[in-house]
């Protein structure tokens, strides 16, 4: 079954993504995301940085730490995230992974 069978709806490309509050640390995280997810698309509305990908979006602690130049606990992502689209499938000490289950 595909949702595109809904009458009147024109299906578009599927994506996942995270919305971050626009502040210093988030900008570092976004740089790390872009390094680790080359297909990531970054856009901005006032106060918000939106990062989207088509298949999966992975945040790696090690890359974020390189960007921020200090230690970063993945739980600190709570201080930046304001919304997301997709399914957070992993959130451990080293990685955060957002994707859909079927892809």
């Amino acid at each position: 079954m595909s949702a595109s069978t809904v009458e009147g709806h024109i299906a578009k490309e599927r994506f996942i993504g995270v919305d971050l509050q626009d502040h210093e640390e988030a900008r570092g995280i976004v740089k790390a995301i872009v390094r680790d997810n080359p297909e990531a698309k970054v856009s901005q509305i006032p106060g918000v940085i939106k990062v989207t990908c088509h298949h999966q979006l992975q945040i790696n602690r090690a890359t974020v730490e390189q960007e921020l130049r200090h230690e970063w606990d993945t739980q600190e992502f709570n201080m930046s995230i304001i919304s997301y689209i997709g399914d957070i499938q992993e959130w451990d000490d080293d990685h955060i992974l957002v994707k859909w289950s079927t892809d």
């Binding site: 079954m1 595909s2 949702a3 595109s4 809904v6 009458e7 009147g8 709806h9 299906a11 578009k12 490309e13 599927r14 994506f15 996942i16 919305d19 509050q21 509305i45 006032p46 106060g47 918000v48 993945t74 739980q75 600190e76 709570n78 201080m79 930046s80 995230i81 304001i82 919304s83 997301y84 689209i85 997709g86 399914d87 957070i88 499938q89 992993e90 959130w91 451990d92 000490d93 859909w100 289950s101 079927t102």
Partner: protein
């Protein structure tokens, strides 16, 4: 010395295994509510909570969030920040938020305590406990963020009493009352999944980006701060649904029915958001139609539903109609608010010419044909005789409690009426969706506290308009036309005195 544990192991040690099955009292006496809805759970340990938030980390991150938030609020007050918003009209969107949404945050706070108390699984209880106190936070930071506005503007002064009494606020109130009076799994499906995941971006992001576009610092600040908790709530919502669907196949049709009901309930509630987005923001973010296409059609229909199809879940009842209605729902709703604006605790107005042009551009198929002529006529009446209002009482939908203002899905010229007869009494609905919801549970919806009926029954302060408005707590200036209102006059004079540098 013990080895350092990872996030996953620490969280598991903290939350799992602390619960136990009582043996000195009967289990069904201690946990009496998780079975009557017919949901089957075989293994509560299959519950996954990706956020893995322990209490110590909760205190740490949340107190940091609050520290940042209250610093902004203090500075906003100290610097007369309210003068920096785009236009005085803008605040009417925020009055609607405080009156309509803030009391719902509080309802969520109380009822997540019910989930934390009565669900037997420790992971679920921990997630619900955190969400409950998050929702208390949201209630309070919203009250605190709007408090500086209350000191200078109409319509902010009496949110809770209004929420309990005023006609258009029975739309959000009945929505949440419906959820908390349902069983615990239906509540989770309604609030955690349908409200917090399926519709959350549609409900909150327009308000928050609207605030950011219109220079409303307190709302932007609490909004983003609350949204950061909200992403935990979204995770809980998706987890609830996946957990129910994975535990037993027999849960699938039950969940589908709840999804059908709560999509439609939430979507109808969102018609107020639609009106707010298209009409109340002096600086527009995006149209309702664009928001619906992005946040619902693309993110949910194209994004989420293929994941749920694995379990046999279909897009919810009424989705085709909602897609058709994206061309008209904001216009039909705002027109009703404009007409009945004498009894609302916010101001309404005729859109400016450039705003009308914006709507023509955003709604080429419908706006010039159906809606622009209304405002041109309204403007003519204003020019000739002054502002008109509909002084009669509208008929309300028995389920969503919105006046019968919506048109047939395929005919924007014809009002849609549906009805059902239950125990020899006839009940009226705005749509097939609301009629279906009634037919599923008539014994619930015959109880609805319908504001118009209650006025007729004499339960709202008296039979005359001034008596009802007084009972609502509406004070002069709260209601009616924006042009010439207390807020508009003040806004004009403050901006004359405080010349921009």
């Amino acid at each position: 010395m013990a080895r350092k544990l990872g996030l996953r192991e620490t969280y598991a040690a903290m939350t799992r295994g602390v619960n136990w099955t009582p043996s000195y009292v009967k289990e069904e006496e201690a946990f009496p509510y998780h079975q009557f809805e017919g949901i089957k759970i075989h293994d509560w340990d299959k519950w996954e909570d990706p956020f893995r938030m322990t209490v110590d980390n909760y205190w740490k991150y949340q107190s940091e969030k609050d520290r940042r938030l209250y610093a902004v609020l203090d500075s906003f007050s100290q610097n007369q920040g309210h003068l920096n918003i785009s236009d005085g009209r803008y605040l009417n969107a925020i009055k609607l938020f405080l009156q309509g949404v803030t009391p719902l945050e509080y309802m969520a706070h109380r009822h997540f305590m019910f989930i934390a108390r009565y669900m037997p699984g420790p992971g679920t209880r921990m997630a619900a406990l955190c969400q409950s106190i998050d929702e208390l936070r949201h209630t309070q930071i919203e009250i605190h963020s709007m408090s500086p506005y209350n000191k200078y503007y109409s319509g902010f002064h009496s949110m809770r009493k209004m929420h309990d009494r005023v006609w258009y606020l029975s739309v959000p109130k009945s929505y949440f009352d419906d959820a908390v009076t349902a069983g615990p799994f239906e509540f989770l499906t309604a609030i955690s999944f349908s409200f917090e995941y399926l519709l959350t971006n549609l409900l909150f992001v327009p308000f928050m980006s609207g605030a950011a576009y219109n220079g409303d610092l307190p709302t932007t600040t609490f909004g983003f701060s609350a949204q950061s908790d909200e992403s935990r709530h979204m995770t809980l919502g998706l987890q609830v649904i996946k957990f129910l669907l994975e535990q037993d196949e027999a849960n699938v049709p039950i969940v589908q029915r709840w999804l059908d009901k709560w999509f439609w309930r939430g979507y109808r509630l969102n018609s107020l958001v639609a009106a707010m987005m298209d009409y109340m923001l002096p600086k527009k973010v995006m149209s309702w139609k664009e928001a619906f296409e992005l946040y619902f059609e693309q993110q949910m229909l194209d994004g989420l539903f293929p994941d749920l199809a694995r379990y046999g879940i279909k897009p919810p009842m009424g989705v085709e109609q909602a897609i058709k209605e994206k061309e008209k729902i904001s216009h039909e709703t705002y027109w009703a608010l404009y007409n009945f604006g004498f009894a609302a605790a916010f101001n309404t107005w005729i859109p400016t010419n450039s705003e009308l042009d914006w709507m023509t551009e955003k709604y080429p198929a419908t706006f010039d044909r159906y809606y622009r002529p209304r405002y041109e006529k309204a403007q003519k009446i204003v020019d000739e005789n002054g502002r008109f209002f509909m002084l009669g009482l509208p008929q309300l939908c028995q389920v969503c409690q919105i006046p019968m203002i919506f048109t047939e899905p395929d005919d924007p010229g014809k009002i849609c009426f549906r009805s059902s007869t239950y125990k020899a009494e006839k009940y009226h609905f705005c749509s097939d969706g609301c009629k279906q919801i009634f037919d599923w549970e008539p014994e619930k919806y015959v109880q609805s506290w319908l504001p118009v009926h209650e006025i007729y029954k004499g339960n709202c302060g008296g039979p005359s308009v001034p008596e009802v408005l007084d009972w609502y707590g509406i004070q002069p200036g709260d209601n009616g036309e924006y042009q010439g209102s207390v807020d508009q006059l003040n806004w004009a004079s403050w901006h004359k005195d405080f010349a921009p540098v």
